[in-house]
């Protein structure tokens, strides 16, 4: 009986989380324009998704932005974490405090404040993409920092010293000894930065160029408009993203199982 209760709760919550997206995935393969009326099988939504100019450029733009932001975040976050790790406690605590700000702050405030500083006060041109990249990077770096720091803490400090004793310069020791050990932290920081950038709506709204759209801003505008062709093509995009995320999670799981077996 207890077992039954546990299954019931789990199934109920899973249904809540997954039914909408599964139903939408099903309807993305039909020619219906509203959920509930089944018409014939059709791949039109997928064709539209990959042929409509506006949709294509929006998707490519979002991905390029996410990769740019993630690379910058990894660079700043990793060097920041390494530098802070070897700094005096006072400066490290100060840096870590500032690092917390974008994490606890509301995205609306982060985006708006960068907009006020760069676009309103310094009169910077939004069309250069610089405010957008800076604001999203400000959101993402703290998470890279937080995923690299534990790796540094769990590292054996003697290895770095040994490398120096064996004739490495500090820069070489860093590159050949420290960096390889913190790679898992860097990778997970990179992935977090990518997902944060892909999911972001608020920072993009306040800092993006007028004609540029990310997936989020595009979807929100599309729900206001009444173009059914675009609306149903976005169902196809949801379905594809859903499948992509499922595959990514399965691969990650298999990899972590393998690592556990090795250990």
């Amino acid at each position: 009986m207890r077992k039954f209760g546990q299954h019931f709760i789990i199934i109920f919550v899973l249904a809540f989380l997954y039914l909408p997206i599964l139903i939408l995935t099903f309807y993305s393969f039909t020619s219906s324009t509203i959920i509930g009326s089944v018409r014939g099988f059709s791949l039109d939504n997928y064709v539209t998704l990959f042929t409509e100019e506006a949709l294509l450029s929006m998707m490519i733009g979002t991905v390029i932005l996410a990769i740019t932001v993630a690379c910058l975040s990894v660079l700043l976050g990793t060097t920041g974490a390494i530098g802070a790790f070897y700094s005096k406690k006072k400066s490290r605590v100060a840096l870590e405090l500032a690092n917390e700000i974008p994490i606890v702050n509301a995205d609306v405030v982060t985006g708006f404040s960068v907009c006020i500083l760069l676009i309103v006060l310094f009169n910077m041109n939004k069309e250069t993409y610089i405010p957008l990249v800076i604001a999203q990077t400000a959101l993402c770096v703290p998470f890279v920092y937080l995923s690299v720091t534990p790796r540094l803490k769990s590292m054996d400090p003697a290895l770095y010293e040994a490398a120096l004793d064996l004739g490495c310069s500090p820069a070489q020791a860093l590159r050949k000894v420290v960096i390889p050990q913190i790679v898992p932290g860097i990778v997970s920081g990179f992935m977090t930065a990518i997902t944060l950038s892909l999911d972001d709506y608020f920072i993009a709204t306040y800092t993006k160029p007028a004609t540029f759209d990310t997936i989020s801003t595009y979807v929100v505008n599309a729900t206001r408009g009444s173009q059914t062709k675009i609306k149903t093509a976005l169902w196809a995009l949801s379905a594809l993203l859903f499948v992509a995320v499922v595959i990514a999670v399965v691969i990650m799981n298999i990899n972590s199982e393998k690592e556990k077996e090795k250990a």
Binding site: Q6, I9, I10, I35, A106, Y206, V220, V245, V249
Partner: protein
């Protein structure tokens, strides 16, 4: 001659933090306390606290945030407890199933839910409040499950067994042992949900909720290029966020001390 030191690696990030995290917030506070001509003024602040519309918005966001957080907690806690201590093996893989939706763009997920709600209700405008709550819970639930699971899975089984041996019923074990020991997880779950629920106005926009929350105010001042009033809202939000962070940190600290 330039000598490389590991500490210097932190300099670029330190500069970045000062320029693009701290400075923007200071500028926002400055803009919040000046008028359109740049003169020092408390008009924006006075306006916020004297207009029934803005005060109403503040209260409405607090109500939304509390309701969403409580429902998320009530739904997530049993799930996290079952995953961490229940009948299922391979709990970490199973947890992934629950947090996976987090990685799909939230606007697309809300669109999916909206289509289903429209099918069930016909017109979303009839139950704006309920729909907003449902959509936000749908959006934020994984963020509540994860920290709860992390703190429950660390909980030592022998504590629960000791309670049982000493004669506690399952309900007593839950209330007197499991719940107090998972306080840090509960707190970090609340921080993940409460603040976004106060500010994520896109969910309201998408379910056609005509009432505003704090985030919407910034959005509407932004659209009308009213930087000073937008800034005072941001400054007020900043203060709320700061207070909230201090309180939750203190509570989490107390919780940890009780455990150790």
């Amino acid at each position: 001659m330039f000598k490389f030191d590991r500490k210097q690696l932190a300099i670029p990030y330190a500069i970045f933090l000062v320029l693009f995290v701290i400075l923007p917030l200071l500028v926002v506070i400055y803009y919040g306390f000046t008028d359109a001509d740049g003169h020092l003024s408390f008009d924006n602040l006075v306006f916020f606290f004297s207009s029934s519309k803005t005060i109403g918005t503040l209260l409405y966001s607090l109500v939304i945030a509390v309701v969403v957080t409580v429902i998320c907690l009530l739904m997530a806690y049993p799930v996290a407890l079952i995953l961490a201590k229940g009948v299922y093996s391979r709990k970490h893989s199973f947890l992934m199933v629950f947090v996976l939706p987090m990685w799909i763009n939230f606007t697309l997920r809300i669109t999916a839910l909206k289509e289903i709600l429209t099918l069930l209700e016909g017109n979303l405008a009839y139950h704006q409040f309920a729909n907003t709550i449902i959509c936000m819970v749908y959006d934020f639930l994984p963020f509540m499950i994860m920290p709860l699971f992390n703190s429950l899975t660390k909980l030592d089984d022998s504590m629960i067994e000791a309670g049982r041996d000493l004669g506690a019923t399952s309900f007593q074990t839950l209330i007197k042992i499991i719940l107090p020991l998972s306080v840090p997880g509960i707190i970090s779950g609340i921080t993940m949900v409460f603040l976004p629920a106060m500010t994520n106005y896109v969910v309201l926009d998408m379910v056609y909720n005509s009432t505003y929350i704090m985030g919407s105010l910034i959005g509407s001042y932004f659209s009308s290029y009213d930087w000073n009033n937008g800034s005072i809202i941001s400054a007020i939000l900043l203060i709320l966020i700061g207070l909230f962070t201090i309180i939750t940190n203190r509570l989490a600290g107390d919780g940890e001390r009780r455990v150790s």
